[in-house]
Symmetry: C2
Subunit: 679 residues, 2 copies
């Protein structure tokens, strides 16, 4: 009788193995993705499989229950003590006797896929840089003296084929007791260091240790720090926590922090200490609220804009505040978290994604990693909107990147009734084009303001202001309702027929919400519109610059990244001319793309090589140097009128042809004068 054929599903990998081969060994021979921590000793049960029986004519084999060995002692004991799901077998124990079809369930796959919330994006394939390995170590022999560490290395090489092993100092210090406590068995957490090609034993446990072990993805924003605790086995986010960036006290925005570094002795050093302490505290708090020991966090991935990137590393960011905006270091960085005074495990590994350019940081690289524009056939525009907008454009043929100084208007700053996104802030606005009646929604309530239950639902917060996405909707709706003209001027009651248009000095304002006592009216005035026009013109001009550079007149897809991107209404953004013309259904949000990119780098070590290579090949455009930028900026100041530049917008919307001021030329000049783009 011939040797049995084995077919693994879902991979479809097939091959002929020697009769009596265990399923785990067969999987290894055929490079099938079957997990094991204990190396086939029937301890870890990670290698569970489900045989499929029947006549598999499509594979040309019959798979019968007699194709497998009976339950052996190890399986019996496991079944008795911990129970196996019906139909499951331990892959390291069950032997193949004749042709068989084997299902590898999702949870037994080493490189299982983790689904992301944003359904349209790639799943994350688990391939963490740190994994657990159980080993049996030779006892010391007085006749052949060798160190415990050397015998561990020999065991890892013999039992796991792992070579070039480096043992961390704290492991050297604890190996004696742990080996003896574990009766000469250990579980090792091994970090595959792709830079040095060495395999670093970063932590050990006596005997068999099943985890969990953790990694944390950290996104250092100028305003907030966010940390996502991930199980390095399942890839799931176990817990997330955020806090204000403690550097806030040295300056609200990036440029004021650079100024602080320039103007104060040891200013940069103080901010470095602040951010390091902040992250250390955040991670302590995250571990505490997750009820996990800090030393089970074995990896950390950090992303941030170039200034945060430099400050966490202890590098003075002054050079980033002035041309030629030279980074001290652009490449990705691997070190120990303790090098940055972050106290987790002694040997917690730290990876910082590469920066793209002086204004386009590791956070933008993380956005690339999570949105993958380089894999698209069509041209994709990725916009991460914040105080500084990072803009990426590209497809399979290449990627371009720039940043554009949009200023803080999109975050509700510099807006008369503006505020940060928080309960009480207006975030959605609709204006009836005929009646000019305004309805809105505020953060904290799901209801529109004309719902009978709206007022009770906002009783607690009240209506306190308007946030970034709210102001965009408000101005776009005002434009659609004929309250604002192409140049951004608000019409008067006489011009618009709406008594919500009120005089505001030499210009007009529009009342979104009239408070009962008149003290807290939420209005939009012409200065607000001008601020948004400046911001959106900067954003649009950056996108346009990249499109010119790439030689494309339009984009096939727009991805809005960042917390703000998640709340922008694509239609309203397009009405305002924030983003180039595109089919509305092709404008999508990537959510917290920078944080997700950090998580991808944390969970999949190959993604690190990928982004390092990608970043090197991105064409970087410095808006401050681009001659066309100013022109694009001025051209983008107006609110579009569905002209030839916006054919897709024209298909779905017709904008009222109103003009509330005949001195347009003067108006344009004013915008130009105000457009101080020097950051």
């Amino acid at each position: 009788m011939s040797e049995p054929t084995v077919i693994f599903l879902p991979s479809g990998k097939r091959g002929i193995v020697n009769k009596g081969t265990t399923v785990l060994d067969a999987a290894r021979q055929l490079s099938v993705d079957l997990d094991s921590v204990c190396g086939g000793r029937g301890i870890c049960s990670k290698c569970q499989i489900s045989p499929s029986f029947g006549d598999f004519s499509k594979f040309g084999i019959k798979s019968e229950s007699s194709s497998l060995s009976h339950f052996n002692k190890v399986e019996m004991r496991y079944q008795e003590k911990r129970g196996l799901k019906t139909g499951r077998r331990l892959g390291c124990q069950v032997r193949i006797l004749s042709d068989i079809v084997i299902d590898v369930p999702e949870e037994s796959q080493l490189h299982r896929q983790v689904v992301r919330k944003e359904a349209e994006f790639h799943k994350i394939i688990m391939s963490p840089a740190i994994q657990l390995y159980y080993v049996e170590v030779q006892e010391p022999d007085i006749k052949i003296p060798s160190g415990d560490c050397e015998r561990l290395q020999e065991a890892l090489e013999a039992q796991w084929k792992i070579k070039n092993i480096h043992i961390c100092l704290s492991v050297m210090q604890s190996i004696q007791n742990k080996l003896r406590d574990g009766n000469w068995t250990l579980t090792c957490a091994i970090f595959r260091n792709s830079q040095t090609k060495s395999n670093e034993v970063v932590e050990i446990w006596s005997g068999y240790f099943d985890g969990p072990i953790y990694g944390v993805a950290v996104d250092i924003g100028s305003t907030t720090l966010a940390a996502h605790l991930c199980d390095l086995k399942t890839g799931e986010v176990t817990n997330s926590e955020g806090m204000m960036n403690p550097q806030i006290k040295y300056g609200e925005d990036l440029m004021s922090r650079v100024s602080y570094a320039m103007m104060n002795e040891r200013g940069a050093a103080k901010m470095s200490v602040a951010i390091r302490e902040g992250i250390d505290n955040l991670l302590s708090s995250l571990c505490k609220s997750s009820k996990i020991p800090k030393d089970t966090v074995l990896e950390l991935v950090i992303v941030g804009n170039p200034i945060m990137h430099h400050l966490i590393l202890g590098i003075d960011p002054t050079e980033l505040g002035q041309a030629p905006f030279a980074l001290s270091i652009a490449d990705s960085i691997s070190m120990k978290a303790s090098d940055l005074d972050i106290n987790l495990n002694n040997n917690t590994q730290l990876y910082i994604l590469p920066c793209i350019a002086g204004h386009v940081g590791a956070d933008a690289a993380a956005v690339v990693l999570s949105t993958s524009p380089e894999e698209s056939l069509g041209t994709v525009l990725v916009i991460d909107v914040g105080t500084n907008a990072e803009i990426l454009l590209g497809n399979k043929k290449g990627l371009l990147a720039c940043s554009s100084p949009t200023g803080p208007a999109f975050e509700g700053a510099q807006i008369s009734c503006g505020q940060r996104a928080a309960p009480g802030a207006i975030e959605n606005v609709r204006i009836d084009p005929q009646s000019k009646i305004v309805i809105f929604k505020v953060i904290g309530s799901e209801l529109w303001s004309n719902d009978k239950n709206f007022w009770p639902s906002v009783e607690q917060s009240g209506i306190t202001g308007i946030c970034g996405s709210g102001i965009i909707e408000a101005i776009a709706e005002m434009r659609l309702a004929g309250i604002v003209d192409e140049s951004g001027l608000i019409g008067s009651y006489e011009q618009t027929g709406s008594n919500l248009c009120v005089s505001d000095g030499r210009t007009q304002a529009f009342i979104l919400h009239k408070s009962k006592d008149g003290t807290k009216d939420i209005i939009v005035n012409n200065a607000d519109i001008r601020a948004i026009q400046l911001a959106k013109a900067a954003l649009f001009a950056g996108a346009k610059l990249l499109m010119d550079e790439m030689g494309v007149g339009r984009v096939d897809k727009i991805i809005l990244a960042g917390a703000f991107g998640a709340h922008i209404s694509p239609k309203h953004a397009m009405v305002l001319g924030m983003i180039p013309d595109c089919k509305l259904e092709n404008v999508v949000s990537a959510g917290n793309a920078a944080g997700t990119g950090a998580r991808i780098a944390l969970l999949n070590k190959e993604s690190r090589n990928k982004i390092e290579l990608l970043v090197k090949n991105i064409t970087k455009i410095e808006t401050a140097m681009a001659e066309d930028f100013q022109g694009h900026f001025i051209a983008a100041s107006n609110i579009p009128n569905s002209s030839e530049d916006f054919p897709e917008l024209k298909k779905i919307i017709s904008l009222p042809n109103v003009n509330f001021n005949h001195r347009t030329s003067k108006r344009t000049k004013r915008v130009q004068k105000n457009s101080s783009l020097d950051i």
Copy 2:
């Protein structure tokens, strides 16, 4: 006319180069060892050469002054500002026009040789792991954004062909200022990490920096710490300093420290802190007294016995105090000095030599490195005598090692008038065989005690006791003078005719020095002789065990290592039967061989690979396990009588045939009973 032939001396390397090639380039093409820090820019002047002119018929060429280009501007300026020795040229400036013979002076050779004090041993070939490289770095270009670190990497690759570069965090932090201060030039100290194969930029200086940079070789003894500051360019020892091992407070000898670790909570940790602080203080003091900045010390090499090795690493040495004497780690270790709380430069590299076995440490490995028994055709016995003696035996065919528990008698402990080697201690003794008159020398004076100026010369110290080498000479001389018999018994006045033999209870004592008031007589009694007999028997038995294992009856050379080894008189050692029979002229001292081995590892990176490989191939013998050891020990208890075991000794000396006690069998039994060899 054909292209010129160039011949370099003293290497004799020859080749044909293109006309107009600089001498430095020609040297590089022909792999001639010609130094350069500035990379051929006429700054460093390290590449100075001396052309030789004349008719070199033995080489088949004529070498004429017209064979070289005239002084160019760079050479002129250098000549003017700093001066060139007559006949010297700058190798990077002078061009080869026709056939030429070039002398590379010693100081222009990158791998120059450093001569050692102990003339019979190898010179050290300079090949430090850290070297300086001057580079010109591209200024940042706003159009092609890249980090300062990346441009440094590109410069090092283009100008020095150095790839796989890792830049240390502190360098990332300082590169901005140093690059700009140095007008986009830097000198880099680069560590060639043989483990990771990466080239680590550990320190940078603005512009051209000529050093010096330093390394320190540290020998951690149980009693004393010794540190030798070495110039990493010349290899010379600039300064040395020593101090008591601060662990002394936890126990005088190794085993009492192991006990302390076993009996006290955090006992090992306390001793680790003590030794780390001790070394940190010693190095600070060394830098201070040498008037050099601590951060110019870029490398550290540490050696020590296994217990010191474990304690400096923060590893509990308890396992080393009991069978099977398992090391936690035996292999060599590379890390940063700061990992062990030793504060020099942020990135000072630390290398710890491998341990050979549980009782034969990194100090013994260093002894191998400095004495090279593995290169000898004849069989070499290397003995490093201390509380524990490390014994090595071998030749080109192989090496064996063991340690033997000699106890502290050789250091003057357990001896009635014994003391450490210090002023006032008797270190040499002679006894006239006829008159039995004793003369001696004490530490602190160059004179024998029968010199008329002797007493004034020792007035300050007085005569305080007898040190290890003194007691060996005293007993050996007593044996030669017929005062002691083969079994180690001292004869009485009646038996010897010497009135210096006095009754001492049931046995006799011998007076070496009678003090004026009779209170401070320096004597040798039978208990002293017994202690030395035990110690020398253990030493001899260890050597004999290795000789048996190797199958050799005699050795061709004996190398005595260690401070004690340097003071032992070979003849007296042989008379006592401390060392096996050997031609006296072939018994040599290697001085502080462990310290020298550490220095070799510091100055020559290839020696590290060599010792790592060697150590793995050494056959380790555990005396505690060897069945023959006890037999050898008992057999070696007596003082030899120039029998068949000592033919070489017999040639030069005839020992008096005396026997002061007929109950020899009983005596032997007593020695046996006292020979508690468990450590």
